[in-house]
């Protein structure tokens, strides 16, 4: 059977070269980097090489990189750590309504700890208006966190403009770059942010390693207390093989970014154009131009995401959906709702995310199997028959 993996936003496969780089650290070079003997030295050097590779990917300094276990941990660390470190200055935090749950729920935890939280809205494309950020700032605002690009609809946010505002007001700005780092050029100086999260499993590195970049001089409280690993900012024996893999993935991403982006965006554009041409009542979600190269997200009206996913899976196609039924919390995607889509439309959400291994044959396969799947589910849908009756009645 044809197998088409179009769920690179959930996780990317690991590049063979990345796996090769990791293997020695699962084998003979197993040392604990904190140890002062030669096993420790080998492991420590490997971690430091990876730190340099990650720093170079985003244009940071090596001592500004803290390794974590994932993008989620990086975001938890950033939101809680940056806010707690400044709580004497003030207890107000600003984040957008479409942040990843690791940012949103961390901010809600801060609320329980006595912070106040402002959620900045987005427009129908999922774009934050920098002016809304400006208006939300108060004397006691200590942290703003706006994602670099949204993971569900792919929309890129105007971080540079927002950074100008936060800098003016002396407020720390964090950006969740999990969906962008290693995928599109990310330069912390150009963006003007103070802290940035990234994760290796989004750009062909392993699961189990992420990083938080924190600008020199910006104070942060640890999320994990204990030993003095990572300059005292993150306790826990370093996951050496995964960190090595993250470093290697960063190096490869930087070297190969233009070629990857062109390839992926070409496939994505084809699907964005062709799918609505072949199927009626399809809404493209996210910004038409300012979006990450791999993201093609839609809402297919009158039907539900999970049933589409299952039928696509039976045709060998792996994708994801923001429908309530597919979420473990049984709630429709907060991103789609924040963009003003109705719950009914949001239920039909479908996200295709392209990666470097995809080919135009994959797009072809999707375009072939999608129309009958949609047709079949619409034939079953009471919403669709109501719509048909209403439009007939209208005539």
């Amino acid at each position: 059977m044809i197998k088409v993996y179009l769920d690179n936003a959930s996780t990317t496969p690991i590049l063979p070269a990345v796996k090769e780089a990791m293997l020695p650290y699962l084998g003979e070079d197993f040392g604990n980097p904190s140890c002062i003997h030669s096993w420790g030295d080998v492991a420590r050097e490997a971690v430091e090489t990876a730190r340099e590779q990650v720093a170079q990917l985003i244009g940071g300094n090596i001592e500004e990189i803290v390794f974590t276990s994932s993008g989620t941990e990086s975001n938890n660390f950033a939101i809680k750590g940056l806010a707690l470190a400044q709580q004497n200055k003030g207890k107000h935090v600003v984040v957008s309504a479409i942040e990843h749950f690791s940012v949103l729920h961390s901010a809600k935890t801060l609320e329980k700890w006595g912070f106040e939280l402002t959620l900045v809205p987005v427009d129908k494309y999922g774009v934050v208006d920098p002016d809304d950020v400006r208006k939300s700032l108060r004397k006691d605002t200590v942290l703003v966190s706006i994602m670099h690009a949204n993971n569900e609809v792919g929309t890129l946010e105007p971080i540079r403009e927002i950074a100008r505002i936060t800098r003016e007001h002396g407020v720390v700005l964090h950006t969740d770059a999990v969906a962008t780092a290693g995928t599109v050029p990310v330069d912390i100086k150009d963006l003007g942010v103070d802290a940035l999260s990234l994760a290796g499993n989004q750009f062909y590195g392993p699961k189990g390693a992420g990083a938080l970049w924190v600008k020199r001089g910006v104070r942060i409280m640890p999320l994990l207390d204990g030993g003095v690993q990572e300059g005292g900012r993150r306790a826990g024996t370093e996951n050496v093989p995964a960190i090595v893999g993250l470093g290697k993935a960063a190096e490869l991403a930087k070297a190969d970014m233009t070629r990857r982006t062109e390839h992926i965006a070409r496939l994505r554009d084809r699907l964005l154009k062709e799918l609505p041409a072949r199927i009626e009542h399809v809404v493209v979600t996210g910004h038409p131009q300012d979006r990450i190269p791999g993201n093609a997200s839609f809402c297919i009206e009158f039907i539900e995401g999970e049933s589409m996913l299952m039928l696509l899976n039976s045709q060998g196609v792996a994708v994801t959906s923001g429908s309530a039924c597919t979420s473990r919390a049984l709630l429709a995607s907060h991103v789609l709702i924040a963009m003003g889509l109705s719950h009914e439309i949001a239920q039909g959400s479908l996200l295709f995310s392209f990666g470097i291994d995809n080919t135009s044959a994959d797009v072809e396969h999707v375009l072939e199997v999608m129309p009958p799947i949609v047709e079949r589910l619409r034939q079953m849908s009471p919403l669709y028959s109501k719509f048909i009756k209403a439009s007939k009645g209208g005539k």
């Binding site: 539900e304 999970e306 299952m310 039928l311 039976s314 597919t326 049984l330 849908s381 009471p382 028959s385």
Partner: protein, 140 residues
């Protein structure tokens, strides 16, 4: 995420009794798209038995499989028998449903019951209407 039983997958991939009945004797609709799933059941009644059952469903794999199973279980049963189909029985017939799917997606029995109620209330109206006719005749 959902680890569906083979039975659920079968009913999802090959749902039975999908569609609408023209001039149905009863219609039952439950759920709304906000909470995820929506089901409409249509029934045709002959001699107090469900001669035909059809459905349309907007929802996830479990919702579709549940609708299909309920339609199959109900067909041919008397109204009283069909009214005794519960979500638990449906889940059992499907060889189990994932925990998080049990409450939101297992609405098929409820939709069927609503269709039966709809039929019965229509019958009462019809019967009631005839009664009124008779009284009017008497008064005359």
């Amino acid at each position: 995420m959902p680890a569906y039983s083979a039975k659920v997958m079968d009913h999802f991939m090959n749902p039975r009794n999908v569609g609408e009945i023209e001039n149905p004797d009863g219609v039952g609709e439950v759920g709304n798209p906000v909470c995820g799933d929506m089901m409409t059941f249509y029934i045709k009644v002959q001699d107090n038995r469900l001669e035909d059952v059809k459905f349309k469903t907007f929802g996830c794999g479990a919702a579709i499989a549940v609708s299909s199973m309920v339609s199959e279980m109900a067909k041919g049963k008397t109204l009283d028998e069909a009214a005794r189909i519960t979500p638990k029985l449906v889940a059992e017939e499907l060889e189990g449903l994932p925990k998080q799917k049990f409450h939101c997606s297992n609405l098929g029995a409820q939709a069927l019951n609503k269709a039966i109620e709809d039929y019965r209330s229509k019958q009462k109206k019809v019967a009631g209407g005839k009664e009124n006719e008779r009284q009017k005749t008497r008064r005359r």
